[in-house]
């Protein structure tokens, strides 16, 4: 399977975002050919007691015949999934060491998800943010919408700083219907305030998936010469000798990552760690398989209820 994976650096050389997404999605289809998690359909979710005012169409008559009780049959709303891709376009996303930036990776990942989900018939929208929400394309599923989403993702970046919590609070107002929210960001912001905002989204009923992007240079900090390091967002400069600062950096960074992951788990959000040198297929596969597991789990929960 490894041979079928596309190197991100090679992928990023494809200019068209749409084509990139197609390469990844088709690659994954090919890879998942024999996957046991094939397909999604209208799935039974749970029964509940009929109350006055319920639509009599959903009363399970077979149960009425067997037990003379009125139950309403509930189905999962998967076919009508509304997915909002939230892409970070702050200055820090422009950093990249492998020949492409995190922003490009993020755009490709978003395009891949979009392409994949729309192929399933889901409605997909995209929201870009930096200090605040910059562009917002509501989730839809109709011909031509994919192109619009792609165009939005291909727009040049304008943002400077990152203010994820502000963007999320703005977004909460924009998203009327419940759905899935895929946040693609490098999470270079304090986690504490982020937690409340993300918790808010979860409370509203959104299913939040966090893609945590990290460049290889950020992960390993493989610099070997002392230099003045400049913050991409604030412009602040400090003198750093990588030889002495590396250890501390790695410690801080992994602590931050762990904190982000814990927070997501605590809030019941799905967390994906995506180094940008990792093939996109894997990220997509992980996402898909995670969704499938979650579906099974939820079905199991429903059955137990």
């Amino acid at each position: 399977m490894a041979t079928l994976l596309t190197d991100p650096a090679a992928l990023m050389r494809i200019r068209s975002l749409e084509l990139r997404a197609k390469v990844v999605v088709e690659g994954m289809w090919r890879g998942l050919h024999r996957s046991p998690y094939h397909g999604f359909s209208v799935e039974f979710s749970e029964y509940r007691s009929y109350v006055q005012g319920d639509d009599p169409r959903y009363i399970d008559w077979k149960v009425v015949g067997r037990s003379d009780r009125y139950f309403i049959k509930k189905f999962e709303d998967e076919t009508n999934l509304r997915c909002q891709l939230v892409v970070d376009q702050s200055k820090s996303m422009q950093f990249g060491s492998g020949g492409f930036s995190k922003a490009e990776y993020a755009a490709t990942l978003a395009a891949t998800l979009c392409s994949f989900l729309m192929k399933q018939g889901d409605a997909v929208g995209v929201t870009t943010f930096a200090e605040g929400v910059q562009e917002h394309v509501p989730a839809r599923n109709r011909p031509g919408h994919l192109r619009r989403v792609m165009m939005e993702l291909e727009k040049p970046m304008r943002g400077t700083g990152t203010s994820l919590e502000m963007s999320i609070s703005q977004m909460a107002g924009l998203l009327q219907k419940r759905g899935m929210i895929c946040v693609i960001t490098d999470v270079l912001a304090p986690v504490e305030r982020l937690e409340t905002q993300l918790g808010l989204l979860g409370a509203v009923g959104h299913d939040v998936v966090l893609f945590h992007l990290q460049d290889r240079a950020e992960i390993d900090f493989n610099f070997d010469k002392a230099a003045h390091f400049r913050d991409a967002e604030t412009g602040r400069e400090i003198f750093v000798d990588p030889l002495s600062a590396k250890e501390n950096y790695l410690k801080n960074m992994s602590a931050h990552q762990a904190l982000v992951k814990n927070t997501c788990e605590r809030l019941g959000m799905e967390y994906h760690w995506c180094p940008t040198d990792r093939p996109l297929e894997l990220a997509l596969y992980e996402f898909v398989s995670n969704r499938a597991k979650q579906g099974v789990r939820q079905r199991g929960k429903g059955a137990a209820a």
Binding site: D224, K225, H228, F229
Partner: protein, 697 residues
């Protein structure tokens, strides 16, 4: 391996510079854009002890380059036994100046002391030769003597030097050096072995007047070095005086001509450049009260006229005073001593006042000059009695009947000059008796309206010496109306006659023949107006005086003699030569006498006549300013600095150093080091260029 200039090795300490530079971590100037600084902390600068050396290869190359550079300047060389100075010591040639200028003060004593000290300091393995020089070199202590008596070297040299006093000669430094080189060369060829290092030490006042022209042709052996030890004069306040050219008679005014004859009354006085005296006085020694005073700034010279001196004063000594040194303050002027030449004329004494007679012209030509006093006697018969004490005889063929041919012939053979003037074609038999080829035919030339000119003239012959001057050789105005034709047998015994001049019709005009020590001269035409214009022309006086000069009686001024010149002894037999100090000078093997002192030499001839010659100091010797050593250096003298070199151990060290320099120059190790250095620099450049700068990925 040893080093010629080991001090340069200190330069190797400069390797600390690249090491420090490599240790120094430049504050990074590069900037790295990073996504966020939230996990980073500013780093401290590295403390010195934690600094690490980067780029070891580059550092090594740079250090190597500096070490090579220092090594190259230190000039390494490998000493080998053969290269070291030989143990057979140095060859010393010591030349001490004994010229007249060394008479100043105690300069000679100091020179002798210096030489003695130098000789005493030499090693037993050295070889020493000592000589003195002025215009020539005299060896006092030769290498052979030195080899025989090494132990007595110092004593022997001192003893020899004690016998020498400075003379009155000029300084021929160049010739002396060339001569000394030949001593060393002769020694080398005798020894046959390798050449020793030779040191020529010249102890002299090195005056400006020393002659060094001979150095231009000198070839200096490579092993020879020359050291000049200057004996400094206490001061340079020196006037020098020499005779200036006499005033031409034509410039003298009438009154002066009438006054007593003036001799040597113009002198050139010079003052040394470094002199501090300016006032001088001149006077004749015989007249101390008649002072001529003058003012002469340093470095200048002027001609001064002196009070006239009577001829009766005898030899004159001009004394200059006013300066510190008197060795060159006297000028000796010999009194006028005209030569007496006795001539006899065979003819009619009455014709002396007849304007058409040959005697009329001859008697008027033979006027006394300052240097020649002709005494003409007229005789009616020519024989041994009338020829006694006579140097030149004139015979007219018209009156030649009274010639006693055998006596005249023997007189000629003893050195007489007989001039036979053929004014008429008569008495050919008398002439034939003298003529070496016997019978001659004498006829009148054919009468013609035309005149004859002299066609060919052998001006190189001593008898026609005055006409050697091109200005006098124009004889086209001397016309001959009548002449005789002289013919003689082409072959026969006796000397072959020589035709000195011919008429333009090829008849001989002037014929000479040698008889014994004397000469017979035949003139085929008279000089009187009946025969020719010769007596009336300007050529007659030079012609007659030319004959007198050929007979040994020149009327030119006496030669001015300086020390070293040969005394003109003349033709007369010399009985004795008295030097100025009164001693009798022994004639040399070749019968010549060279003047060694200043003053008056008296030459007594066998006939009792005494001739006084004034001998003066060579004028150049009075130039006592120090000779610039650069002139000697320019002349190619391999000089070494006298102040730096000392005899003895220091001298040995010096020679060792010279040998080391030579050895190093042969090995040229520094050349290879230079090549290595360049290679290292190329490698350093390549390595430094190849090293890619480490930047953030």
């Amino acid at each position: 391996m040893t080093w010629l200039f080991p001090l340069y090795l200190l330069g190797a300490g400069a390797v600390i510079a690249p090491i420090l530079l490599h240790l120094r971590r430049r504050p990074p100037q590069n900037r790295v854009e990073f996504s966020s600084l939230m996990f980073l902390e500013a780093s401290e600068r590295l403390p010195v002890r934690n600094r690490r050396i980067e780029n070891w290869l580059l550092l090594a190359l740079r250090c190597l380059a500096i070490l090579l550079l220092a090594g190259m300047f230190a000039r390494p060389w490998w000493s080998s036994a053969s290269a070291m100075p030989k143990a057979d010591g140095t060859r010393w040639i010591v030349l001490v100046d004994s010229s007249a200028s060394m008479r100043r003060g105690d300069m000679w004593d100091r020179a002798v002391t210096e030489a003695q000290k130098l000789v005493a300091d030499t090693e037993a393995v050295d070889q020493v030769a000592v000589g003195v020089f002025d215009r020539s070199v005299r060896m006092l202590w030769s290498f052979d003597e030195d080899q025989r008596a090494v132990g007595a070297r110092a004593a022997g040299v001192s003893q020899r030097l004690a016998t020498v006093k400075p003379g009155w000669s000029g300084t021929k430094l160049g010739a002396a050096l060339v001569e000394a080189v030949s001593w060393a060369g002769a020694r080398d060829s005798l020894a046959g072995g390798g050449k020793r290092s030779t040191r020529l030490v010249v102890i002299s006042d090195l005056q400006e007047g020393a002659s060094i022209e001979e150095l231009s042709t000198a070839v200096w052996p490579s092993e020879m070095t020359v050291e000049f030890r200057r004996i400094e004069a206490p001061d340079l306040n020196n006037f020098s005086v020499q005779l200036a050219a006499n005033v031409e008679e034509s410039t003298e005014d009438e009154n002066a001509t009438k006054a007593l004859p003036k001799r040597g009354d113009r002198v050139r006085v010079s003052n040394a450049r470094a002199s501090s005296v300016t006032d001088l006085e001149l006077h004749w020694q015989s007249r101390p009260n008649e002072l001529s005073q003058g003012y002469l700034p340093a470095g200048t010279s002027r001609v001064m006229s002196l009070a006239t001196r009577a001829e009766t004063d005898g030899p004159g000594v001009l004394v200059l005073s006013g300066d510190a040194w008197d060795f060159d303050n006297r000028v000796f002027v010999a009194p006028p001593q005209p030569l007496k030449v006795r001539l006899v004329f065979l003819g009619d004494a009455k014709s002396r006042d007849e304007a058409a007679a040959p005697l009329f012209f001859l008697a008027r030509v033979l006027q006394p000059t300052p240097n020649l006093t002709p005494e003409l006697t007229i005789t009616e018969s020519l024989d041994a009695s009338s020829l006694a004490g006579v140097q030149v005889a004139f015979v007219l063929s018209s009156s030649a009947a009274e010639v006693n041919a055998p006596e005249v012939r023997s007189w000629i053979a003893n050195g007489g000059l007989c001039v036979w003037v053929m004014d008429e074609a008569k008495n050919a038999e008398s002439f034939s008796a003298l003529w070496p080829r016997g019978e001659v035919a004498l006829t009148e030339a054919a009468e013609s309206d035309d005149y004859r000119l002299l066609g060919e003239l052998n001006a190189q012959h001593p008898l026609l010496h005055p006409f050697d001057d091109a200005r006098l050789r124009d004889l086209t105005k001397v016309r001959f109306w009548h002449h005789r034709v002289l013919k003689w047998a082409e072959k026969g015994a006796g000397n072959e006659p020589e035709v000195l001049a011919k008429f333009d019709n090829n008849d001989p005009a002037l014929v000479t023949a040698s008889i014994g020590k004397g000469t017979l001269l035949a003139l085929t035409a008279g000089w009187h107006p009946r025969d020719s214009q010769l007596a009336l022309s300007t050529k007659f006086v030079p012609l007659i005086f030319g004959w007198l000069e050929a007979a040994g009686y020149a009327h030119q001024e006496q030669q001015r003699l300086v020390v070293g010149d040969e005394l003109p002894l003349g033709k007369a037999a010399v009985a004795a030569v008295l030097a100025p100090d009164g001693t009798n000078v022994v004639l040399g093997a070749d019968g010549r006498v060279v003047a060694e002192q200043i003053g008056f030499y008296k030459v007594r001839s066998a006939d009792g006549a005494e001739l006084v010659h004034a001998v003066n100091l060579p004028p150049e010797e009075g130039r006592v300013m120090p000779l610039e050593e650069s002139r000697l250096r320019d002349a190619g003298v391999p000089m070494i600095d006298a102040r730096k070199s000392e005899v003895g151990p220091v001298g040995a060290e010096e020679s060792q150093r010279l040998a080391a320099t030579e050895q190093e120059a042969q090995q040229r190790v520094w050349w290879w080091i230079l090549i290595g250095l360049l290679a290292v620099l190329v490698a350093e450049t390549w390595v430094a260029g190849r090293r890619t700068p480490i930047t953030a990925s």
